[in-house]
Symmetry: C2
Subunit: 115 residues, 2 copies
DNA sequence: CGGTATCCAACACGATACTG
DNA sequence: CAGTATCGTGTTGGATACCG
């Protein structure tokens, strides 16, 4: 099992920050979005990107994001079913925030290893 | 009671995003940091900024952020005790990410009202 | 492959009451 | 003013097993 830090995110509707945090505040949500940021990916690819996310949570996160219009789910009618997830315009609008988060995180990591 | 959306944030150590989300992924954490972004504030001021945060959560959030080095807690030896919270350098490093989040959220709100 | 259903335990939150 | 302690509650995520 992976070391985990869990916290809850509660947000107030109508405020900009909440508007955004509602979309990316979910458990593992930023990771999923990040995986999708460079193009469409399949379910199993996403799972490989983030092996520590259980299938249940991955599914629920994807469904959630789909309902919120952040990504689309395309089922290809192949013999072994293939499903592709892709960010929508709305999803892509979230990327700057995610990139900022990653950028800040990277700086913090550097700082740690430097210190 | 306020409409709430709750989600958990689980993060993996060693990855930039987790590094940052660990710091601002907590419940109400972005709101608190945002309140502090323009200068030191007292406990009661913070509570007024975000009336929907219970005292217990506010305290725990502040303690947490203090331990992580995101903010400092200064107790002034006045007769009614006065406590001021202020962002540290680390805390200020998080602001760009928060600003991005707010910026994206604002755009999303506009989009909503326009649509 | 891409899920879904069930069970389960862990938190983390809100409310309340009390303190220096 | 600025908390802390306690209780009760509910959501949520992990694990496991199963399906088209």
């Amino acid at each position: 099992m992976v070391l985990k830090v869990r916290k809850k995110v509660v947000a107030l509707p109508g405020c900009p920050m909440s508007k955004c945090m509602n979309l990316l505040g979910g458990c593992w949500t930023p990771e999923v979005l990040w995986s999708l940021s460079e193009g469409p990916r399949r379910f199993s690819e996403l799972r490989r990107d983030s092996p520590f996310i259980s299938a249940k949570v991955m599914t629920s996160r994807l469904r959630d994001l789909e309902h919120r219009g952040v990504l689309t789910r395309n089922v290809m009618p192949t013999s072994p079913p293939t499903v592709e997830y892709e960010l929508t315009g709305l999803g892509k609008e979230l990327l700057p925030a995610i990139r900022s988060i990653v950028a800040v995180g990277s700086r913090l990591l550097l700082r740690d290893s430097t210190a």
